[in-house]
Amino acid sequence: MGGTSETISSTFIEYAIFIVLLPMLAFPIILFLGHIFNGNQTWVKSAKEGGLIALPIMVASFVLSMLLISEFIGKGTGAHHIGDWLSFGWMSADGMTINEKVFGVGIYIDHVTVMLLFVASFLCMLINIFSIGYMNTDPVNDNRNHRFYAEFVLFCSGMLGMVLADSFLWLFIFWELMGLCSYLLIGFYYEKPSAAYAAKKAFLTTRVGDVFLVIGLVMLWNLFDSLDYAVVFNEDLIAQVDPGQLQLALGMMFIGAVGKSAQFPLHVWLPDAMEGPTPVSALIHAATMVNAGLYLVARMFPFFGAPSMAGELVDLAFIIAAIGGITAVMAAAIAFVQDDLKKVLAYSTMSQLAYIFTGLGAALWLANTPGMEKYAIVAFGAALFHLFNHAMAKGMLFMASGSVIHEMHHAHHDLHHHDDHGDDHHDDHHDDHFDAQSMENMGGLASKMPITATAMLVGSASIMGLPLIGGFWSKEGIIANAWRVAREEPLFLFPAFCVLLGAAMTGFYMSRMWLKTFAGKPKTEVAANVHENTPWIPIPLVTLTFVSLSSVILAGMMFTHWSSDSSYAFFSEKGLIDGLIYEFEHIFLNSDAFFFVLTYFVIFIGAIVGPGLAMALYGGSLKDGEKSKPWMQPIINLSSRVNAKRGFDNSAWANSGLSDALKERLYFDKWYDAAMLKLVAGFANISAAFDKNVVDGTIKTIESTSQKLSTQVRRLTTGSARDYIMMAALGVLVIYLMLEVMI
């Protein structure tokens, strides 16, 4: 598939480098200006502490990206070689000749790039707008927002660079750059020990994966003598490579993807990463950086699709799908018991990324199995489309959650301030430890924050896969293709069941989150006093709501068949209407009885069972006399009715050991911390002592022994002249005797 598409000419590809360079150059500029004008009123008001410098840059990057995308969407691949980065000598195995090898640098564009490029540049721009609303009204940030914007643009540069890079090497370089920005931004509130800890944890955990990624890249280089896509995707070259070696190399690289995309067992960093400011969570830890791992796996597609590799790489495909399956269920289960709004979303992110991994695993399996290649495109398209839907929805959800938290903070601040002067009654929650992120403190916000609530509703629906909205189309595709593989290969039953179960669980925890936050009566006085009044924030929320809702049109544009193959091209000959009809027929009236049943079963568990249970447990009507918007009121009413009729007591479950285990995140964090602390740190301390006492000690012993010896020798010098004479005489005698003996 990869090698067959034609290379097309392009005018904008030569300017594509600026998509990366503009934000990268903005980094030092914002930092420098911020350093100079820190605290200056003009800087705070007019430049929004750098926010309004970053915004035009991100808009420019977005426009350039769109121009580029418009040339490549649904077409072939394009490459623009900028130059050689490193050139070096390489001795042939027989030691006779030295050849010249290079690491190049350039731009590479195909259908995967296009998808990711749009997601990244679009969301970077929107979240920049959101940040201006969110960060600049936050009193905690006293004069450090320029740091936020500087690191923000550097991150955007890393993400866009990773997507546009033309080789695995530059993918890795930008990958690490993103890791750095992630580290810096998680630790944005550096004075909080929890933030410092979370930043370290995130960097270290992903670093473990990165080490394997480097090793994988090195192995790949040794197989192909190059890391450029244009070379390694060449089917003739792939044919000369040992499949076992290739599978190992790709497997190593996959571990890197596991770390970056927070999959089991390297998932522990993502929930803690929520210590960062909410825009960071939205951008880096939900919508873009965590997709890097998926992008890397998607990039491997040509290896699986190569005819010479047919049937050789299925093990790796299964591992990818299985890791996805495990994480999907595990993360969803942990999300059941989280009370922190952002943590629920974090686990949801993990779970949804796992879906995409399963989808990619299935696609890779199909591509690698003779006779199944024709389904691979569909599976691959579904996975990529889900990536798109998830990025849009999750970015929006995080921004909406940020909006909620922000307004909760403000409400709390105002109330608290008020309490200091008045003699109003005190609420127990009005202490300094008020948790603005806990859903236990919210409730009934639907009427007070209509835009946020709507955005959250649409986002949740998209993640849950409610029919016709957002993620529905892609999720159906992923589950169907997992099952398609499972029908051929029994091993795949495991991930297939996992994603099926995950669909129901997603329905439950997303509904739970929405209901606990927006439905029911306000649980605290703060929640009762929340208002939606921060500027800038609604812009991205509304935009993304429409994007998520318009997913049905995208489906009609054959996004689920996203590929470079022109027979499935974007806006294919079918046209929008025909495409829509095709998609509807395909999903709702599938001629294959198995998939027909599967579709309705998924809809049933994901859209009825899961939300139904959540309504029964957490539903409730708003405070008397308050009404939300007409599109939300029926849902709230329904939830309150279900809750009244079918509500049940779940305390037995809530107090069970499983629930405790889930609250403890299945003990992974504990074990990892313990391992680090006890094993690694312990060993390190022993080593340090060993180095000091034994290695250095040996030398010191030699030194002290010789010192002692010299002390003994020194005792001969008594200082008495007589002894010296005696010694001189003895010396003469000895010399005489020696002469006697020798001569």
Binding site: G89, G95, I98, A195, A196, K200, A684
Partner: protein, 520 residues
Amino acid sequence: MNIDYLSLMVILPILASIFLLILTSRLNPAARAKFDAPVRMASLIISLAMFVLATLMFLGQIGDVGWNDIAFNNFEFQESYVWIEQLGITWTVGVDGLSFPMVWLTTLLMPITIIATWNEKAGATYFPLMLMLGGALIGVFVALDMFMFYVFWELTLIPMFFMILKWGGKDRKYAAQKFFIYTFTASVIMLLGLLTMYFLMDTQTFSMQEMVVQASGANGNGVWLGLEVQKVLFIMLMLGFLVKLPAAPFHTWLPDAHVQAPTGGSMMLAGVMLKMGAYGMFRLPISLFPHALEEFRFIIMIIGLISLVWGAIVCLGQTNLKKMVAYSSVSHMGVILLGIASMQPLGWAAALFMMFAHGIISPMLFAVCGAFKHHYHSMEIGAMRGMAKHSPWLATSMMFGWMASLGLPLLAGFVAELMLMVAYWYAYGWWILLPGLVLAITAAYYLWSMQRTIFEGGEATQPPESLHGEPVPDIDNSEKIAMLLLAAFTILFGIMPWIFLDMMDMWTRSAMAFLGVGGA
């Protein structure tokens, strides 16, 4: 007019430093204090002039040299004078792709070190010693005569010894002695090796260039001096260089020397003096005894691995910031041995670039440590938290240096590590997991120390007791300039490594072809 620029670069700073030392030693203390500032300024000007000279040489403004085409055993700016006629000892200087980056690095670090320690109140003799050190180091790198090489090799010890002894920390006496004894013992063994080699040669010569020709002529059809002799000589020479590098288990002098040394001394020690060991390896044993190198490559690899892994693990167990950085140097120097052992032009180039990159990054690390000590009067990790708030410049410099040292892409260290990994996997396969492990451990100890210094703290945390209630300071302007310069060069060589990598690559390629070694 034909000026011998290289000899000038060696002699000028040494003469200047002797002149300044004599000048100041003749004065009484009160008058000497007045001379502090002029002497400091004079030292800076001389070192800057040398930097400009070296840069002009590189840019082709002085002499027209195609730096990227210098083949193995060819030298540019070569000049030779008779020194001791009876013994055939000459003063011969010249640079090639191996030595020029080191010369340039030395001239770069001298002014930066002087700037970084501008306000240390070290007195009038400190900066002349720095000049002498720089001159001696350049002498080591440009010397093409074995005798001259050895003379400058030992000469570097003298200023460093006095720097540690006079401006060092609490245990400076012990550290200075240890430093001297270790390196001196090693260099005596090396000297014995050199002399043995001299007497065994067919045509006795001190000229390194002629030696290489002689050795390769004999190595072409057989083994020069016989394999056993070659092995013994190889071991003797390598021992001298391994201690200097330092490689495990001879590394324990380094942490002591670093912890006690003054900031400027540490910067030069880590930046250039350690590289003398690696430079010597390439210049003598590797160039002369390729057969022995082939025999010992696995052992060299193991020593490198031990240094790399052991250094990193011990780092993790340190609570002293400077000691941690010192051990990280041990770890990074292991990379050089791995590069040599990979027997690929790429691996050798990785080793050379590691020398260079570490030469830029580690002075920054030690400058940060020095500033930390200077401002907080403590070296313990955790003594000062929340630096990001109190001393943002120092915190930024620290994070930058740490990140560069742990191999963040687009900074100089990454290039060397990447190249090494490629060559290493090719040569030793799954052994690569150990260097991989070290990449993770390196990140762990650096992040751990940052968590306890840069982060946390905030309003609630008190400044460390060692400050005695003084306000928490940030680094001063001279330190800022030094940090910015080092950071700028780290980025420059991270993004454009080819500036020096190309000439290193040419050297390694032609060396391997010339010596007839390498391959799987």
